[in-house]
């Protein structure tokens, strides 16, 4: 059984308030039966320095990622991972993390690929919990293994692959990387290891909205009105648009995916997790350099 939703008037403004919990709610519900709290960080060692009491660590690189197929784990491995963390199909999973929940949103997105129904983000993440002086622990929680069914990943709804992004050209794209990554600008210095991509720039017509714009200074999500100003007025999205978001490897764009899907209520939002690491290196796909979104290429390259 999932836990009751938080009745927080502040979340009523969002399209799907059931996807958020506050630090107050979590503090009051810690230890509740069928609640599993997961910490998903950009800095892999951070959990060990102290975490929310009872929270377990989840790591995208070693646990959600399959190094052999360069893809997310399959249904069987996900089921095994969930069981080992005491998560059953009807558990309420609350995920939080460092850096305004950037990697927490990524983990939530992967949970959604497997259709785990009740998965929520802790608004404000790890930083807010700590800033409020709440309790942390370095104790590794004891876990009673659960049973989790093998559910195959559904990549068709919230995930886009490169050929689908090529087909999508002409529809809204949001590039959530930093302005320097978007324009393709690079600071050249001796002994400076280059990023992984061969070409710098962005996907033609993509609007630049760095992911962190959606987060307030305390790491919580901005108000719906502020988010609408950013994504509707500045980036030019319209309600009902079919949107694809991308970044470097799909982790920052998961944060934006969460905002568009669950806070602003877009029905069709996909995260292109191949992102710039794939697009920037792929043979026969066009890019645009500089600050302008760029035009749709007449000849879209060999692959389009």
């Amino acid at each position: 059984m999932s836990l009751p939703l938080e009745n927080n008037p502040n979340y009523a403004q969002y399209a799907h308030p059931e996807r958020l919990v506050s630090t107050d709610w979590l503090a009051a519900n810690l230890g509740a039966e069928n609640l599993v709290v997961l910490e998903s960080n950009e800095d892999i060692l951070l959990y060990s320095t102290g975490h929310i009491p009872g929270a377990l660590k989840i790591d995208w690189f070693t646990e959600l990622n399959d190094e052999v197929t360069r893809d997310y784990v399959e249904g069987a491995a996900f089921a095994e991972l969930m069981a080992s963390k005491g998560i059953s199909r009807d558990s309420t999973v609350v995920i939080y993390g460092d850096k305004s929940n950037w990697w927490a949103a990524y983990a939530l997105w992967v949970f959604t690929l497997f259709g785990h129904e009740d998965v929520r983000l802790l608004d404000g993440g790890r930083d807010k919990w700590i800033a409020e002086g709440r309790e942390t622990s370095t104790e590794k929680p004891a876990v009673t293994a659960a049973e989790y069914p093998v559910i195959e990943r559904d990549d068709s709804v919230i995930r886009a692959y490169l050929p689908q992004v090529l087909e999508h050209l002409g529809n809204p794209l949001i590039d959530v990387r930093s302005p320097e990554e978007y324009t393709g600008e690079r600071t050249h210095m001796p002994n400076y290891p280059e990023e992984g991509a061969m070409r710098g720039g962005h996907i033609p017509t993509a609007a630049s909205v760095p992911w962190g714009k959606a987060a307030a200074a305390d790491g919580t999500f901005k108000s719906r009105a502020d988010l609408e100003a950013i994504y509707f007025e500045e980036a030019g999205l319209k309600p009902g648009d079919d949107v694809v978001a991308y970044c470097r490897i799909g982790e920052r764009s998961s944060h934006t995916w969460f905002v568009l899907k669950h806070l602003l209520g877009f029905e069709s939002v996909r995260n292109y997790d191949g992102s710039w690491t794939e697009w920037g290196n792929a043979v026969g796909v066009p890019i645009v350099r500089g600050e302008a979104n760029g035009e749709l290429p007449a000849k879209r390259g060999a692959r389009a």
Binding site: E42, D43, I44, L45, S48, T49, F61, P190, N191, P193
Partner: protein, 145 residues
Amino acid sequence: MSALNPALAEIVEEFSEVPEADRLELLLDYSRELPELPPHLAEHPELLEQVVECQSPLFLVVEVGADQVVRLFFSAPPEAPTTRGFASVLAAGLDGSPAEEILAVPEDMPARLGLSRALSPLRMRGMSAMLGRIKRQVTEQLAAA
């Protein structure tokens, strides 16, 4: 192929001797041991150079002495333990070494810690970037001396 200096070689050996699953714990131990900045730098943050390639803020200062002995100082916040861990490995392995030993450290040194299955490639690049900046600073300061 150039060789690791003895202190760094010892650290690499230390990492390779623990099982893969425990290497992150070892890196965490290092992160706790990163020395504080000495007063002459702690009071002058403008002297610190930021390593922008790291995912978390890391500042470093390289001082090449008249005797060509190199002092290394790092600063990274507690909420960036991985970055602190890498900095601490370089501090323990290279601080106080002769300039020529530092310049001879192979570029692939970070890979030899055996962490590439536990840490994302971007993280590993962050450590390579730290090493690259240290070497560049050493080269520049030797040339200016």
